[in-house]
Amino acid sequence: MSANVQRLAPATMPDAKAAAEVFALPTPATRPGSWSKTLASIAANVVPPLVVVALILVIWQILCATPGASLPAPSQVWAEAGELIVSPFFDYGQGDIGLGLRVLISLQRVAIGFGIAALVGVTVGAVIGQSIWAMRGLDPIFQILRTVPPLAWLPLSLAAFMDSAPSAIFVIFITSVWPVIINTAVGVRNIPQDYRNVARILQLNQVEFFFKIMIPAAAPYIFTGLRIGVGLSWLAIVAAEMLTGGVGIGFFIWDAWNSSRLSDIIVALVYIGVVGFILDRLVAAVGAFVTRGTTAN
C-alpha cells in the first residue's frame, strides 16, 4: 500500500513543482492596515519583472533590427500587429476577430473538456483510491497513459468522433484527466484512519462519506491534480486547434504561419502564455481557498 503511494507521489509531484516554478511569482503577503507597506510589496513584486521584460525587449530589438533578420523586432511587431495588442475584442465579421475573443472561444472548449476531466477524474480517482487492488492494477497503466502527448490522441479521436469540435474537447479531456485521477487516488489513500473511524461510528453511507469526508480530506491532493490538469488542457487546446481549425487562438497561429504573419504569431504567443498563467493561478487560488485549514493539521 505505502509502496504504491510513494511510487505514485513522486511521479506526479514534479509536474506540479515544475509548473509552479515556471510561473511562480512570490505572492505578496498583504496585511490589512498600512497602505504604504502594501504599495511597497506590490512594487517589490511588479518592478523586477517589468525591468526584465524591458531588458529583453531592448536586446531583442538590437538583435533583430538588422535588415536581414529572420524574425521581426519589437518595433516591427508593434507596427504590424499593434491592433491585436490594443484591441483584443474587435469583430470585423467573417472570422476576423480580436485575440481576446479567440482566447474566449478556446477557453470555452477547455472549460468543457477540463470540466469533464475534473468530474470524471475525481470520481474515478476516489473509487480507485478506496481499493488497494484497483490501485495496484491501474496505477501502472495510468502512469503510461499520462505521458502520451496530447496530439498523439488526435487522430484516434478524429476517427472516433468524425468531427473536429468534439475531437478537440476529447483531446483536452484525455490529456488532463490522468493527473486528476492519480492525485485524487493518492489523496484518498492518505485519508487518516481516524477520519474513517469517525465515519464508521456515525454510520455514514457511501454518498455521505464521499462528500463529507473523502472529498474534503483529499482536497489538497485533488487541487494539485487539477492544477496540473488545467495546464495540460491549455497545452492541448492550442495544439489541437492548430490541426482541427475553427476560430480559437491555436488555429490563429497556424493560419498566421501559413500567411507568414510572424508578428501576429508573437502577439498570440504572449496571449497564450498570459492566459495559461492566469488559469494556473486561478485553480491554485480556488484550491487555497477551498482547502484553507485542511492542510495544516
Binding site: D194, Y195, N197, I201, G293, T294, A296, N297
Partner: protein, 263 residues
Amino acid sequence: MTYLRIENVDKQFDRAGQRSEVLKDVSLDIARGEVISIIGHSGCGKSTLLNLIAGLTEVSSGGIQLEGREVNGPGPERAVVFQNHSLLPWLTVYENVNLAVAKVFGKTKTGSERHDWIMQNLDLVQMSHAKDKRPTEISGGMKQRVGIARALAMQPKILLLDEPFGALDALTRAHLQDAVMDIQKRLGSTMIMITHDVDEAVLLSDRIVMMTNGPSARIGEVLPVPLERPRNRIELAGDRTYLKCREAVLKFLYERHRFVEAA
C-alpha cells in the same frame, strides 16, 4: 444489572501469514453508569479491546453484548473519543459536532432542536465560545473537549475514551479530568477509559482493569475504587484509600508485570 458484557473474548491478527494473539480470554461485566479505567503497559492490547467494544474491529472468538444485544459493527451508541481528537480540520467546532448530530438526530429532531442540542453539548465542555473556530485555531485541550462534545452529542449508551488526555500537559489534563467527572456526574454516563496514568485511573474510575503484558494479554486484576463522589484531587492527595489504590496499581504494573522490553 449487567449493561455491557465482554465474554471470553480472544483477538488475533493475521498479517502476512503470521498470526499474533493480542487478547486471550478477556471477560468483564460493566454496570450502567459505571466508570471503568483500563490500564496496562504500552502495546498490551488496550486499544484493541476498546476497538472491539466500539465494533471497529471484530472479535476472533467470544462475544460482546450491550444491553443484551450482540455488538457487530460500529455505531453512535458506542461513541469513541480518540487520543488525537480526530476532529475534521475543514469543519468548524460547531460543524464538527453538527456532523454527528445531523446524522444521529437528523430524523428525530428539528433544525432548531438540533442547534440547541449542539450548543448544549458545547456548553457542557465549555467550548461554545469557540464554536466558529477551526480545529487548527484552538489548543490541544480544547480540541479534546470538542471531541468529547461530539461523542456526547451522539447520546451514546457508552462512552469509550482511548487515552483521551495522553497528549496534554499536566495542567490541562487535570482541568479535563475535572470536566469529565463533572459531566459524568450530571449525565450518569457509562464510560470506559484507557489510560497509562495511575492517578488518572484512581481519580476517575469506579473500577480499574489492569491488563497483563502481551502477547496474549489478559485481565490480570480488577481493582474497585471505593471513594465517595464527587472526588476532589486535592483532598484525595493524602487520603488513605486513594493511596492504597494507587499503590496497588503501581505494584501490579511495576512489580508483578514489569514491562521487560522497556527496562
